[in-house]
C-alpha cells in the first residue's frame, strides 16, 4: 500500500535517480537523470525569480522617478531632493507602490508567519482565560465564548480549505447521483441536456448572486454562518458540472461487452448499477471529480472575494483595499499559496483517481 502510494504520487520516480546514484548503479545515466529532474527545474525557478527581480526593479525605479518628478513640479528642487532621500532611506511613508520584488515577498511571508504566531498565542491565552467561564456556560446550556479577534493568514487558509471541501462534497453529492440517473436513460439525457449545456458556462459571480437571493430568504431567521453557506453552495454549484457531465458520459458509455454480460446474466437493476455500470464508469467519475476540485479551488477565491466570507479571497481583497506598504507583497504571497494548495489538491485527486482505475 505504502509503496503503491509512493508510486502513484510520482514520489518514487522523483527519488529514483538519487537512490541509484547513492547505490552506485549506472552513475552516468543517473546523474543525467538527476540533472533533468532537479537541476533544470531549479534553474528555471532561478530564472523566473531573476526576471521577476529585474522587472520589479525596473517598475520600482520608474515609479520612484515619477514620484520625484511630481515632488519637483509641486514643491520645487528641495522637495525633489527630500523625496529622493526619503525613498533611498526606505521610509514606509514614501515607498513607491508597485510590483514587489521577490525579497519583499519573502519578508512579507515571514511577517505573516510571525503574525500567525502572535495571534495563536493570543488565542491560547484567551482560551485559558475563558475556560472556566465556558464550563459554567455549557453547564447552564449557553453557547461558549469564542475568540473573535482578527484571523491570521493560516486561519484564512484553513477557512478556505473548509469552504472548498464543503463545496466539493456538495458538488459530488448532487452531481454523481444525478449523473448516474441521467446516464442510464437516453430519454432523461436528451431532455436535460439543454439545461446542463446552458447552466454549465454560467460565471461564478452569477451563481453567487443567485445563491445569495435564495439563501437570504431561506435562512432569514437562522443564526448560522450565512456568508459561509453562500460561498460553499456557490462553489459547489459552479464546480459540479464537470462531474455531472463526466458521470453521465461514463455511465452511458459502458463497454458493450459488459452491457451484454449484464443482459445475458439477467442482472437486476441494482446489481447492474453496482456491479457493472458504476465500477466501469468510476475512472470517468473520478476524472470529473478531479476537474471539479480544481475548478472549485479556482472559483473559491473569486467567490470569497465577493461574498465577504473569510478566507484567502477576502484576505487578498482586504490587503488590496488596505494599501499598506507591504500589502502588495502579501497579495503575491497569497497568490503562491493559492497556487501551491491547488497543485496539492490536484495531486491528491490524481492519486485517488489512479487507485480507482482498473486495468482491463
Amino acid at each position: 500500500m505504502k509503496e503503491r502510494i509512493l508510486q502513484l504520487t510520482g514520489i518514487q520516480a522523483f527519488l529514483a535517480p538519487w537512490i541509484s546514484v547513492i547505490k552506485g548503479e549506472e552513475v552516468q545515466k543517473n546523474v543525467q537523470a538527476l540533472l533533468k529532474s532537479y537541476i533544470y527545474p531549479l534553474l528555471s525557478i532561478l530564472l523566473f525569480i531573476g526576471i521577476w527581480h529585474a522587472g520589479a526593479t525596473y517598475l520600482f525605479n520608474k515609479e520612484a522617478t515619477a514620484k520625484i518628478e511630481k515632488a519637483r513640479t509641486e514643491r520645487g528642487e528641495a522637495g525633489a531632493l527630500e523625496m529622493q532621500n526619503c525613498i533611498i532611506s526606505g521610509d514606509v511613508s514614501c515607498q513607491p507602490n508597485t510590483l514587489p520584488s521577490p525579497a519583499k515577498v519573502w519578508d512579507a511571508y515571514l511577517s505573516l508567519l510571525a503574525d500567525h504566531k502572535i495571534i495563536s498565542a493570543k488565542k491560547d491565552a484567551f482560551e485559558l482565560k475563558v475556560a472556566k467561564t465556558n464550563e459554567k456556560r455549557i453547564a447552564k446550556g449557553q453557547d461558549p465564548i469564542t475568540y473573535t479577534g482578527r484571523p491570521s493568514f493560516v486561519d484564512q487558509i484553513k477557512t478556505s480549505l473548509k469552504t472548498v471541501f464543503a463545496g466539493f462534497l456538495l458538488a459530488a453529492f448532487i452531481a454523481i447521483p444525478i449523473g448516474i440517473i441521467i446516464g442510464l436513460s437516453t430519454t432523461l439525457r436528451t431532455s436535460f441536456n439543454w439545461l446542463i449545456q446552458i447552466l454549465k458556462p454560467v460565471s461564478p459571480v452569477v451563481w453567487l448572486l443567485l445563491v445569495f437571493m435564495i439563501v437570504k430568504t431561506v435562512m432569514s431567521d437562522s443564526d448560522m454562518d450565512k456568508s459561509f453557506m453562500i460561498s460553499f453552495i456557490s462553489v459547489g454549484l459552479c464546480s459540479m458540472w464537470a462531474t455531472l457531465v463526466n458521470t453521465s458520459m461514463g455511465v452511458s458509455t459502458v463497454d458493450k461487452d459488459f452491457v451484454n454480460v449484464a443482459k445475458v446474466l439477467k442482472l437486476s437493476i441494482g446489481q447492474n448499477i453496482f456491479k457493472v455500470v458504476l465500477p466501469s464508469s468510476l475512472p470517468m467519475i473520478f476524472t470529473g471529480l478531479r476537474i471539479t476540485l480544481s475548478v472549485a479551488w479556482m472559483v473559491l477565491i473569486a467567490i470569497e472575494l465577493l461574498a465577504q466570507s473569510p478566507g484567502l479571497g477576502s484576505f487578498v481583497w482586504e490587503e488590496f483595499q488596505n494599501g499598506a506598504s507591504d500589502s502588495n507583497a502579501k497579495i503575491i504571497v497569497a497568490m503562491f499559496v493559492i497556487g501551491m494548495i491547488g497543485f496539492m489538491l490536484d495531486r491528491i485527486m490524481m492519486v485517488v483517481q489512479k487507485m480507482m482505475s482498473f486495468n482491463k
Binding site: V261, K263, V264, L265, Q271, K275, P279, F358
Partner: protein, 294 residues
C-alpha cells in the same frame, strides 16, 4: 420436437440506403443434447446469428423458437460464452462466477454458493487462481472463467461465439478437449460458432457452413461420424476426417469465391502524370524567365 428452431429468420441493420441485410432465410433445427457447429468466414453474420438465439437481438422476419416458444430475451436457460471473454475486470474469478450463481439461485445459502463457485472453477481447472483478477490471467485462463460462468447458470443450452479464436493453437486444443468433456458429462445442447473447420470437426456432431454475408444463408449439413473422444493427433490420419474436412473446405472456398466474384467492379484509374517540382534559384528572378524542369 426440436429443442431450438429457427424458421425463415432474416435480420438487417440500418435503414434506407445504408440498410444491410445480414441474415436471410435462415432455417435451423437443433435437437436436445446435440452439439452443432456453425462454420463461416469473419463478417458473415455469425455473431448476429448467436445474438438472435441468446435473445440480445430479435429477427426482422421469421421466428426463433426455443422448445416451441418464441424467444423474448436472454434467459438462464441459455449460457453464453463470448468471443472476447467479457469478464468484469474489477471482479475476481470467484466474484465473476458468483454473479451468475446469484441470478439463478438467489436464495441459496452463502456456503452452498461458495461450494458451487468452487465446483465450477474446479471444472475448468482454475482452482489455484480463484481469487485473481482477470487482468492477472492469460487469455486461455480468462476464456475458461467465461466458460465456467456460462456453466454456472446451469443452462440447458450452451452458446459459444468463437470462444477460442483469440487463443494460440496449443491452448486451443486443450480447451477444445475440456469443453467437449464437460459437454459429455451431462450432454447439454451446444451451439458452437467458429471460423475453424478442424475445431468444428473435433467438437461437434453436425457442422453447418454459413455462406458469407450480406444476405447470409446456411449451407448443407455435414454429419460428423467420428467416435468420441476425438484426439486431433489421432484422427488426423483418419480417412473419414480427411474426407469430411476437404468436403467442408471445398464448399466454403466455392461459396467464398462465388461471393467475391460478384463484387469485383472495374475501377477506372484517372490518367495523371506526376507534377515535377521546379528548380529553386535564390535571388531575384528575371522577368519572362520560364521555370526549368528536370
Amino acid at each position: 420436437m426440436a429443442y431450438l428452431e429457427l424458421k425463415n429468420v432474416s435480420k438487417s441493420y440500418g435503414t434506407g440506403k445504408d440498410r444491410v441485410e445480414v441474415l436471410k432465410d435462415i432455417n435451423l433445427t437443433i435437437e436436445e443434447g446435440e452439439f452443432v457447429a456453425i462454420v463461416g468466414f469473419t463478417g458473415s453474420g455469425k455473431t448476429t446469428l448467436i445474438n438472435l438465439i441468446n435473445g440480445l437481438e430479435f429477427p426482422d422476419e421469421g421466428e426463433v423458437l426455443l422448445q416451441g416458444k418464441p424467444i423474448t430475451g436472454p434467459g438462464p436457460d441459455r449460457g453464453v460464452v463470448f468471443q472476447n471473454y467479457s469478464l468484469l475486470p474489477w471482479l475476481t474469478v470467484a466474484q465473476n462466477i458468483k454473479l451468475a450463481i446469484d441470478e439463478v439461485y438467489p436464495s441459496a445459502p452463502k456456503k452452498e454458493k461458495q461450494e458451487m463457485i468452487e465446483k465450477y472453477v474446479g471444472m475448468v481447472h482454475l482452482s489455484h487462481a480463484i481469487d485473481k483478477l482477470p487482468s492477472e490471467l492469460s487469455g486461455g485462463m480468462r476464456q475458461r472463467v467465461s466458460v465456467a460462468r456460462a456453466l454456472a447458470m446451469n443452462p440447458k443450452m450452451l452458446l459459444m461465439d468463437e470462444p477460442l479464436s483469440a487463443l494460440d493453437a496449443l491452448t486451443r486444443g486443450t480447451l477444445q478437449e475440456e469443453i467437449v468433456n464437460i459437454w459429455g458429462e451431462d450432454r447439454k445442447t451446444c451451439l458452437l460458432i467458429t471460423n475453424d473447420v478442424d475445431e468444428g470437426i473435433v467438437m461437434a456432431d453436425r457442422i453447418i457452413p454459413l455462406n458469407p454475408g450480406p444476405k447470409a444463408t446456411l449451407g448443407p449439413n455435414f454429419k460428423v461420424d467420428l467416435a468420441r473422444p476425438r484426439v486431433i493427433a489421432e484422427i488426423n490420419k483418419n480417412d473419414v476426417y480427411k474426407h469430411l474436412r476437404n468436403e467442408i473446405l471445398e464448399y466454403l472456398i466455392d461459396v467464398g469465391a462465388s461471393r467475391s466474384g460478384q463484387k469485383t467492379a472495374q475501377y477506372e484509374l484517372p490518367d495523371l502524370k506526376p507534377v515535377m517540382p521546379g528548380r529553386i534559384k535564390w535571388g531575384f528572378r528575371k522577368k519572362k524567365e520560364k521555370l526549368q524542369y528536370f
